[in-house]
């Protein structure tokens, strides 16, 4: 089975924690020793297991930041 190497190089923040202690986090993660990318993903309490997530380039995260800053989240509820 193929091996996926990863390293969380920067913990930026936690978005939520569920009843089992898994946390949804924004981090910088290096995949297979490539340059780290921004990453939003669920992790087990000891970060040995990961859930589904999405990686974002610096440009994509900057775009997301601008997008979120410009909208009223309550308007979508």
């Amino acid at each position: 089975m193929a091996e996926l190497k990863y390293e969380i190089t920067e913990k930026i923040g936690v978005l939520s924690e569920n009843a089992k202690g898994w946390t949804k986090e924004l981090n910088m993660v290096s995949w297979n020793e490539h340059e780290p990318k921004y990453d939003i993903r669920e992790w087990s309490p000891d970060h040995s297991r990961m859930g589904k997530g999405v990686t974002l380039s610096a440009d994509e995260l900057a775009e997301l930041k601008e997008l979120l800053a410009g909208i009223d989240l309550d308007s979508f509820e």
Copy 2:
């Protein structure tokens, strides 16, 4: 094969577009007719196919917004 019903109920913004025209987007998406959730994901040009992504609750997106507003993205480069 199981069927996944989904509907993009609100297009909030596009984070990037790749060479094949797939776009990484922030939307509100209803999965299997449940209440829509925020969703960051890649979509094919006609939105008939989707890539990996992550769904976020309103609280998680608000947390992400606050997190991004408070950090200098350049500091992680």
